[in-house]
């Protein structure tokens, strides 16, 4: 038999994955990167410092999501296709592992090339006068490649171990959230997700006297580089070991026997399907992480913040509201639709009940469970405020913000259900939700709060300014508009398109 080279295996990986998805992720990622880096005014004389200070922050999020989604997708396709019994009979497990990693490597390289082109263009067209920081660019690019590969290797491992991509991606998002914040606290990367941030080429210091941010170029942080390399090699070696030990592959929360033995159950069908899936973990844990980070930040930055209810809320809800709630909703919607996309389950459910009820039940289940997140963080906020002895009363607008956030969740749940119905992949709709969320953030910066459900949720949560004006009728109207549109498209799809079955 003729031996084929590694590049051929890489081509096979690209053949298995739709190129359009890769192109879309890269395109949206680089656009969001560009919009974020160039938003707002650049301080005169320190333009490049400002740009290079923004890059590690936004790319910690963007690269993490892009690489997690890609890794989850390329591992999950083998899970779904039961290919783990076939592939190792065709070529060695090591080659299989390396070809998967090369697939991720090509993506992070393409992302870095696109970013470099944009920065060079920016240097020529907008900042021709200033010196281009070539050294810092090269260092940033190398950091991004290492970081991207750490995340890719880690996610391959998670997606392999947790066949339910729900658990794998929840850990990825929870990790990203914790990693970003821990990078603010410590210059060492305490988690794999903090690596890029810890290698930032610019340091930002807040001058409390002038209330200005001071930017300065960093020397290369050798210990941080070493920690990054350790994460890289450790994730590589663990992944290598796991790929080569097939019998330990499927890690699952599932017990061999069900607990319920009664013929009767009061649970609705969608909730029975969620049994034994630890859905509650991210929905309970991520608000706790967000609030804990917020409280630490709130207490540690009292020279900038005020000891009142307003600032406590902005700190506690910041990460949840601005970055993680929408992807969490997306993960849940993907999980509910994955149940039907696997095997031939559409054949069963579509003959058992009306298409309207199937879509409605999934949408309402997604919305109802996602609401727990908001209610939970509101409870944590009230309790923590009381325990910290914050003076005065909780601002009344807080309760209105919680109310409008719940409405926004219903709209986002509708949007994500539509995506997960149409797109069979688990990870792609989740990645799109994350990117939609960052786009929503940018819309907020431009004052277009009510343009999309994502921007509305960020604004409704009031994570940057709880006292900002809140137009409740407009929020409801805009949400209704999106609910009708997305539900309509979902129904149209179910009624007009021949749903594909089989793996």
């Amino acid at each position: 038999m003729k031996q084929i080279g590694l590049h051929q295996y890489l081509l096979i990986e690209f053949k298995k994955n739709k190129f359009i998805i890769s192109a879309l992720l890269l395109f949206i990622g680089i656009i969001l990167n560009c919009l974020y880096v160039l938003q707002g005014r650049l301080p005169q004389g320190q333009e490049w410092q400002m740009i290079f200070a923004s890059i590690p922050f936004i790319n910690t999020l963007l690269i993490s999501i892009m690489m997690s989604v890609l890794a989850s997708k390329c591992i999950d396709m083998e899970n779904k296709g039961n290919m783990w019994n076939t592939l190792p009979t065709l070529y060695s497990r090591t080659k299989l592992y390396i070809s998967k990693l090369m697939f991720g490597f090509v993506h992070i390289i393409l992302f870095c090339i696109l970013q470099t082109i944009l920065l060079l263009y920016f240097s020529i067209k907008i900042l021709p006068e200033s010196d281009f920081p070539l050294f810092y660019l090269v260092f940033t690019i190398l950091s991004e490649i290492i970081y991207g590969m750490i995340i890719f290797q880690l996610q391959c491992l998670l997606s392999l171990r947790f066949q339910s991509q729900f658990a794998a991606l929840s850990i990825a998002f929870g990790g990203t959230l914790a990693g970003v914040f821990l990078a603010f606290i410590s210059k060492f990367s305490l988690t794999p997700w903090s690596v890029l941030f810890s290698l930032s080429t610019v340091s930002m210091d807040f001058d409390s006297a002038t209330r200005q941010i001071l930017l300065s170029w960093n020397k290369i942080n050798i210990p941080a580089v070493l920690v990054g390399l350790i994460y890289f090699f450790v994730t590589f070696i663990i992944g290598f070991k796991v790929f080569n030990t097939p019998e330990t592959r499927n890690f699952t929360f599932i017990h061999s026997k069900a607990k319920s033995r009664s013929i009767y159950t009061i649970l609705p069908a969608e909730l029975i399907k969620l049994k034994y899936n630890p859905v509650w973990i991210p929905f309970i844990l991520i608000p706790v992480i967000s609030a804990s980070i917020g409280i630490i930040n709130f207490l540690g930055n009292q020279y900038v913040l005020s000891f009142n209810w307003d600032d406590l809320w902005t700190q506690e809800s910041l990460f949840l509201g601005m970055f993680f709630l929408s992807p969490l909703i997306a993960i849940l919607a993907s999980l509910l639709f994955r149940m039907e996309h696997q095997g031939n389950n559409w054949n069963i459910v579509l003959t058992a009940n009306s298409r309207f009820k199937i879509l409605k039940d999934k949408w309402l289940t997604t919305a109802a469970l996602s609401m727990i997140c908001i209610i939970w963080i509101a409870i944590i906020y009230i309790i923590s405020g009381k325990l910290l002895g914050i003076p005065g009363n909780i601002p009344p607008i807080f309760f209105l913000r919680i109310f409008t956030s719940l409405i926004c969740i219903i709209a986002i749940a509708g949007f994500q259900c539509m995506l997960s119905l149409i797109i069979r992949s688990f990870a792609i709709p989740v990645g799109l939700a994350f990117l939609g969320n960052i786009f929503g953030l940018l819309l907020n910066l431009k004052g277009l709060f009510y343009a999309t459900p994502f921007s509305m949720l960020i604004y409704s949560m009031g994570s940057t300014n709880i006292k900002g004006e809140l137009n409740i009728p407009l929020t409801i109207l805009s949400c209704l508009f999106y609910i009708c549109i997305t539900f309509g498209i979902g129904m149209l799809y179910l009624n007009k398109v021949d749903i594909k079955t089989g793996r």
């Binding site: 699952t252 026997k257 069900a258 559409w346 069963i348 003959t351 199937i358």
Partner: protein, 242 residues
């Protein structure tokens, strides 16, 4: 009184420029077993999926229980129907019982029926096992139990003997042949296992390359002196290729 449970006229389904099913007509009398025969890729599953509204037809008419099937009455007709299409589905992380509970809820069927359906396919003892741990034969039987929920009058089974061992095949055969007599259920069963159909069916339809080549009573077909296998190979033109 109308004695047919399913009446199909000139049913067609295109895939690009070619036909997956072309001008197919079919008539299934009540309380019989109808064997739907055809080689792999003949269009059997496509036809069954069109009957159940799982995919759209491009042309033709489908009448079930004497009613023209439309988007409006599809669901009410499906509630009188049970089906198992392609490989058996289900949620592998749940037990057999929990899978049945989901289908019972979706069909709006009393959960007390679950026990009866599971006992019919002899899975009641294994109801607490995860579907993921079921053998292919057990999954197939669970698929049939799901189809039997709601006391259907018309059962559509797509290659239900796939992956079963000889004992399992015999068990399914006995179950299917008993349904018309004992429960007044009409069964439409697709297969490419000619011997199986020969032992079960009252009527047969033979489809090849999307077109119906023959349909009628099995006994009439066999009165010509040839067995089903010979007739099938002759009709589908595969005898020459052997």
């Amino acid at each position: 009184m109308n004695n047919t449970i399913l009446e199909i006229k000139n049913l067609s389904k295109k895939s690009g420029s070619s036909y997956r099913v072309k001008n197919l007509s079919m008539s299934i009398p009540k309380s019989c077993v109808y064997g739907f025969l055809g080689p792999n890729g003949a269009g059997k599953t496509t036809t069954l999926k069109m009957i159940l509204g799982l995919i759209k037809k491009d042309a033709g008419e489908i009448k079930m229980f004497g009613e023209d099937v439309s988007a409006k009455n599809l669901l009410s007709l499906l509630h009188k129907t049970g089906s198992l299409i392609e490989n058996p589905g289900g949620y592998p992380h749940l037990s057999g019982l929990e899978n049945m509970q989901i289908i019972a809820k979706l069909k709006g069927v009393n959960e007390s029926e679950i026990e009866k359906a599971l006992k019919t396919v002899r899975l009641y003892e294994q109801k607490d096992k995860k579907l993921g741990a079921y053998s292919l034969g057990m999954k197939q039987r669970l698929g049939i139990a799901m189809a039997l929920l709601g006391d259907p009058k018309f059962l559509i089974l797509d290659e239900p003997s796939n992956g079963l061992d000889p004992a399992g095949i015999m068990e399914i055969r006995n179950l299917i042949t008993s349904l018309p007599k004992e429960r007044d259920i009409t069964v439409l069963i697709s297969s490419h296992l000619l011997n199986e159909i020969e032992q079960m069916a009252d009527y047969v339809g033979i489809i090849h390359q999307g077109q119906m080549l023959y349909q009628g009573k099995l006994s009439e077909l066999e009165s010509t002196g040839e067995n089903l296998e010979q007739i099938f190979l002759e009709l589908t033109g595969e005898r020459e290729s052997l």
